[in-house]
Amino acid sequence: MNQLREITVIQTTCILISTIIGVGVLPLPLFGVKAADTGAPLVTFLAIMIAFLGLWVITKLGIRFPNQSIIQYSETIIGKWPARICNFLVIAFFLLLTGLGAREFGEVVVTAVLRETPIEVTVIVMLLMAAIPARNDINIFSYIHVFFLPVILSPGLIIVALSLKNANVLYLQPLWGHDHKVMILGILTIAALFQGTFIITILIPYMRRPKKAMKASLWAIGIAGTFYLLIVIAAVSVFGPEEIKQLLWPTLELARTTSWGRVLQRLDVIFLVVWVTAVFTTLYSSYLFMAFSISQFFHLRDHKMLSYFLLPLVFVIAMYPKNSLKMYEVIVLVGTFGLILTIIYPCVLLVMAILRKQEGHRTIENG
């Protein structure tokens, strides 16, 4: 814990972006279209707003307690045992999130590319990819995120750019869609894709200037949100809402529809394998969050050993859903209820901290 405060604002931004962008992008347009057919971009936008609200709250909390993570300051705010129960739930939630994230991607890979390979193998490879570097400290964590960020953003942007050729603006109209019965649910489902931002609660204690964390949050949600919006707009304008309803992973189909002249006729496989990076960074973040939080929860000195002990647990969770449809039911359910933990819980903390006028003190200035 006695590490230097070395994380810069840019690094924080990169970590947040690459954490947000993950496997959830693949079914994203489907969630949006199911909620409000042509209004999918609007739904996505509203979801981004909700996600930003959550991020704003945890960043505010972090700035208030610049030396502590949520596991630590929650105990000061609402007392030891209530906080411990909530924190336990948060950790359990991220355990689920990690497992399901790995499973979801494994499912995509096994369905689309490696059809004979056992899903256990692809999932365990994904998890190992996250577990091994999760032994590193926060600095290397940030290096890895910064390094892979272009690899994460570029395939999506290339696909969006190339698919414009087949876009039809009519499919985006009317902007608010035709029926809005399930809109709220869709907004929550998409907002749940942003829950990785919770990682900022353990980042702030390592930031060189925690005061500027809000700037990082703003940029991160801006860039990742724009990315999400672009993907949704591209998918809806290329396929139209009715076609998207028939596709399990519209973003992947977007890559399949797009070809780059005669050079690369199938972009979907390439998109998918490059997308491994995005999934890796997301899993890495939630994995590290778990390891860190658990070590703080039990007041351990080091999180390194935990990274391997968590592996079997996460793997079992990943293997729990029986089939790919059950998996999505679980993911939507867990994601939506998780919002209580990732948005409402911090809100409660923040309100109480303001009411009780509690504030953490900075002991180290500019490490």
Partner: protein, 409 residues
Amino acid sequence: MGNHGNIIRLLCVIVLLVPLLTGCWDSVDIEDRAVVLAIAIDKAEKNAKENEAEISHLKQKGFRKPQEKMIRVTAQIAVPGRIPLGPDTGGGTGEEKPPVWVLSAVGHTLDDALLNLQQEVADPIFLGHLRVIIISKDLAKKGVKRFNDYFRRNPEIRRSAWLAISNGNAAKLINVAPKLERVPALYIAAMLENGVKLGKFPNDFIGLFWRTLSSKGQDAYLPFLKVKEEENIQIKGLANFSNAKMVGMTEPLEIGLYMGVMGERKGGYGVFVDVPGTKAKVLVEAVHRKSRVKTVIRNGKPHVQIKIRYEGQINEKDHEKVEINKSAVIKRIEKKAATDTEKSVKGLIRKTQQMQSDIFGFGEYVRAKHPTYWNENVKTKENWHKLYKEGTYEVKVVFHIRRVGMKAE
């Protein structure tokens, strides 16, 4: 600490490696795959049902037989080695063997037929290079939805493959071997793809076909191909669909008109235009097209205003006497061309109205621009078909002839 970590890391690596030892699950070398380049789907012969082997379902009692009518699937499989690497090094000894192997099987559904086919082929069937799928007209008239399901589900299928309707037997079409290309399937694919590039055909690969098929306010169309003189293939027109059933077809020139309404930029069709005041005709080729579609609701019915702007050039005249040397002449020809086109477009719309096939997607305009009207009156594709027939259409064509080639008069 470090020592512990190392042991655990080692264990993990071993745990990781053990399953890998049995690995290479998906590894099938390219030469060990039966690379299917084209698939033709036809109606099965009458006696097919009796001759069917029990591959995907058993004939004993207690199992319900699949409902769908039997189909015959013909696959064109590339034979490795027959298509040499790089340019031909000459020295053609003896008769050239065909580069593809064509074989067929029957089944109740597409997958059923492919499973039956697999039963006869040693290598695993690989659809990743499937470029062309041909459905015979008879089958298409019964509906194509039953085939889409399999194609959508299978990740190997490219969304950029082409689906086409054949006039006669589809299997015959994929076996026609034009001289330009060694592999027949690739010839058909090249023909359709180049058609898009030349402005002869709107881009309509299978992904786009599917999207129009699912749109509520638009009907799909497919290229309609015909075998010519047993050794060549012609793009005969558009095969129009209403819902998922083929309901009719257009003439080749009507493809050009259709593309005009859609505003497909690259023009490719030439048309004879009377030179007003003379008996002569000139052949005007459209180079660029641009269109604007506007919908309004008039008296509870959609009214569509279509504005098309062509830019063209004169390619040929059929009479020596006529002189094309003044801009006034060109202006007259432009006017004539415009009215001709207007008439033809209206004719095409009428034709599609009768077929209940809104290939232009006017319904999408209504859905997008008049959502309340849509929600109250349309909502489904069937309703739109009715309204499409009742709607009024207004076509306005502007024709510009920019140049006349290198001849002075």
